[in-house]
Symmetry: C2
Subunit: 146 residues, 2 copies
DNA sequence: TAAGTTTATGCAAATCTTTGCAACTACGAA
DNA sequence: TTCGTAGTTGCAAAGATTTGCATAAACTTA
């Protein structure tokens, strides 16, 4: 089965309608290496669906997030970015507040932390795709030696 | 010493210039009970500084964040909100994706988690003021019984 | 397959946030 | 105190994101 077809099926299973827009937007995000902005999703998807509207991109990523199929990443200042959820490779993001670079970190501690919060609060935590801000190694060193 | 004066002093110590705008915006955030939006900061601060511009509010909260004096909280969909950092009471936020309500959670696990990430990555984590999304107890129960 | 119902989309307008630039101000040095 | 410089601000314009509404498409049921 094609990648797009499998993704569409997942969408359907989770109670979302399968539209051309959703399918193509999802594939566009899936096939990109990096985390991409709404504008980039729009440009990529519009090649296969010329009538597509940017507002639909925003509404769709909201739905895809709700379906647990994509992650949203907000890096200080810059526009929101999106990436496909990979259950095999859950991770969080570190964003350097100096140079803006993004690192991924797999930390099994995250899941434990989320479960602990659920215990304390009786909330049900959906997303543990965290974004932490700080200084990357390079910017940290630069700041140490002025 | 007045609350505003102490805050201004902290700002100065951290290498930021102390302007009327910054002082008043900081006090406005400090004196609000809840986390407030840029628009609310603007309206509050403008009572004491009529010429204030909304763009200055946005630039100022960015600076105050950089100085480690306020927290930013982005609740899915809604505009960004701000609150004063209280070193005595560090906490994270839980946002219900159904009803939008916000809960605070003090979890000593957060700090440990951040330090662990620093070990793994050689990043320096600044902010561990996390926002986790999920379902609050009420919305969780509603969803269980349809 | 043919409605009927519900949800999604496009479009345009509103809202929220960032930015370029010229005038202004804080603050350290003289 | 005065001056020089780098950092801030207001304003207007641009960029990003959300929303209301009429139309169109997806799914349900018959
Ligand atoms: Mn990622
Ligand atoms: Mn808080
Ligand atoms: Zn960096
Ligand atoms: Zn709720």
């Amino acid at each position: 089965m094609s990648c797009g077809k499998r993704l569409a099926e997942q969408l359907h299973e989770r109670g979302y309608r399968v539209t051309a827009q959703r399918t193509i937007i999802l594939e566009t995000i899936a096939h990109m290496e990096d985390h991409i902005s709404a504008q980039q999703v729009y440009e990529g998807a519009r090649e296969r669906l010329p009538g597509l509207n940017l507002a639909t991109v925003y509404r769709t990523v909201e739905s895809l997030k709700g379906a647990g199929m994509i992650n949203m990443l907000s890096t200080g200042g810059e526009p929101m970015r999106f990436s496909l959820c990979d259950p095999e490779h859950p991770h969080s993001h570190l964003v350097c507040r100096e140079c803006g670079s993004i690192f991924e970190v797999e930390a099994e501690e995250i899941e434990a932390f989320a479960r602990r919060v659920e215990e304390i609060t009786s909330f049900r935590i959906d997303s543990v795709h965290l974004t932490l801000e700080g200084l990357c190694q390079i910017c940290k060193q630069k700041q140490a030696a002025p």
